[in-house]
Symmetry: C2
């Protein structure tokens, strides 16, 4: 009899039900949501269609060029249908018992490549490094605006956004409040530091390096693990091994790009053209925060990281009603399968 | 220019981005996930197939009958693939920095009707009352076990569970820890009570009854509202108007059944055979809690409720990375559309 486990993630505080029945694994791998076939057509995010998009905010190019002209490698534009808008005041107010703010923030779209039909998960390291550099530049710039408490990088393939184009892209969002999930991470990290005077994430890295069972790979300054209480099958976390609070202060983005390329290759070997969500959780906007007296030990207690979550059909949708996620692939198995780059050998060797 | 809003839900503490562009509404209604055509075949949940399921835990029938024989109207069996198991000890332990429990709990399946091919959302009030009565009986029974901190009713149509059968059913789950989402509701309700000495939910009901704009219907002791910071298009909350902590102590389940039938009819008029998640958030297991000194003002501060959430393709999947949900249909519009039972008239009259 396989004994399922309830595991608590010390970073988010969430509990996950981990199913221990290895018979699920084949079925789960078959159910990983696949990116649809990319149209070979060009679209308005393609090179030489710059005039069809909103006007450029930022771009990287290796040749001298004018804004909104060809020659770029990564390009940032305002999202055409922003969920938050850059202009205006927060106008924070109460309506009886309720709290409401105007939807002020920033919502930018990063076009990750001039080429149509290649996803970020298929990029070579040099192009990945350029994308990471653009994220970094946008984080640095947006955090100068102290209306914004947080800046988030969010990438979801095959998202249901209006006007969705299947040209590889990601979102940068600056929000006037700290998102709840990040708030919980910040609170748990601070509580750990207050008690132990050590960074929670550094402690996790140390324990994982000793246990080895959930480490998928290490590359120079970075480590990739399947979190102990992973909320979804094959969910991974990428962290800098050295303590570092802010993604945008990292100076080893080429190493990170190599690490990402390798991890995407391993995942694609097992999960094919999997749909996924990728997010960077950096420290919050320290200028906005310190003004308000928050985050006194932030630089010691918080540690930036990337979360990479394949879209796998959930076994149950209990999360929506309870916050419990059910993960049918134990992270130890996920890590072993991804290390090998195949699931069959592993599942046989365990029986 | 439509100004989007960030709204905070005082119950969960979550912020939702409410899109104010009414042009989205038609597209959203078209994208509501529909229940697949039900097979007309019989299945092992059907009457006269009782011997094909796990042995019955409880049933309601109007005629004398033996367990596991025909003649029942609602029947409860152990889930064949339980995420939590009834036997054993919690065996709470630490693994270095991590916390883990054995997956002890209860996972039961409520077969809501002997007939194949009719969903709960299509039931008449008398059958709905029987289902609610079964929930109540199972809540009362499971809460006698003080290993369990919480008992949850969760129904999701077209769920991805293993062995899923499209015969109308729901899940009862008893958990050894309070689910995170409920914990947040309990904490917010207690904080409100400590400050105001009034129940948060009673305050919300009072404000909604005055404002009227988000009330969908009232029936005797129950009220149905589109929450101010609804996390999904057409999400609804059903509450008893009188302060009451525990669903399982309610003695007006027929009135609740009539209310539910009416609300499902209105939703089906707009959203057709929509897929949905329905959940009952009752108070936690007070025996287990009081032993541990929790929930001192629980009976005054917490108020049970039902959440009903249609499965609508999200506009963005920011929730997974941040906790922000984007709701493209303001709850005021959702309530107006559902009150009328059609969206076209409403969207015209607003222009």
């Amino acid at each position: 009899m396989h004994k399922n486990e309830l595991r608590r993630d010390p970073i988010s505080g969430n509990w996950t039900i981990i199913l221990k029945n290895q018979n699920h694994i084949e079925r789960i791998i078959q159910k990983v949501q696949q990116r649809p076939e990319v149209s070979t057509e060009v679209c308005s995010y393609c090179e030489r269609h710059e005039h069809e998009t909103t006007p450029e905010i930022f771009a990287i190019s290796e040749v001298p060029r004018q804004a909104n002209e060809p020659g770029w490698q990564v390009r940032v534009i305002p999202e055409k249908y922003p969920v938050l808008q850059i202009h205006g005041h927060l106008n924070s107010r109460g309506i009886g018992i309720y709290d409401v703010l105007d939807g002020i923030g920033a919502h930018e779209l990063v076009i990750e490549t001039p080429k149509h039909g290649v996803d970020l998960s298929e990029f070579e390291a040099p192009q990945l490094e350029k994308v990471l550099t653009v994220y970094k530049e946008r984080f640095l710039d947006l955090k100068r605006d102290n209306r914004f408490r947080y800046v988030l990088m969010h990438k979801a393939t095959s998202d249901g956004e209006p006007g969705f184009l299947d040209h590889s892209h990601s979102h940068i969002i600056a929000t006037p409040i700290t998102p709840l999930l990040v708030k919980e991470e910040l609170a748990n990290a601070r509580a750990h530091y207050e008690y132990k005077e050590r960074c929670l994430f550094c402690d996790i890295i140390r324990q994982e390096q000793e246990a080895r069972v959930r480490v998928v790979l290490e590359h120079k300054g970075f480590i990739v693990i399947a979190p102990f209480a992973a909320r979804a099958a094959f969910q991974l976390m990428i962290l800098p091994k050295r303590h570092e609070t802010f993604f945008e202060w990292n100076s080893e983005l080429y190493d990170l790009a190599v690490c990402l390329q390798e991890i995407f290759q391993k995942m694609r070997a097992v999960l094919n053209n999997f749909d996924y969500i990728m997010v960077i959780h950096s420290g919050p906007n320290i200028i906005a925060g310190k003004q308000r007296g928050y985050w006194k030990t932030l630089e010691k207690d918080f540690h930036w990281h990337i979360e990479l979550t394949p879209k796998v059909l959930a076994f149950h949708s209990f999360e929506a009603s309870s916050g419990f996620q059910v993960n049918p692939v134990p992270p130890e198995d996920a890590a072993a399968i991804l290390r090998l780059g195949t699931w069959r050998d592993e599942s046989n060797s365990d029986q």
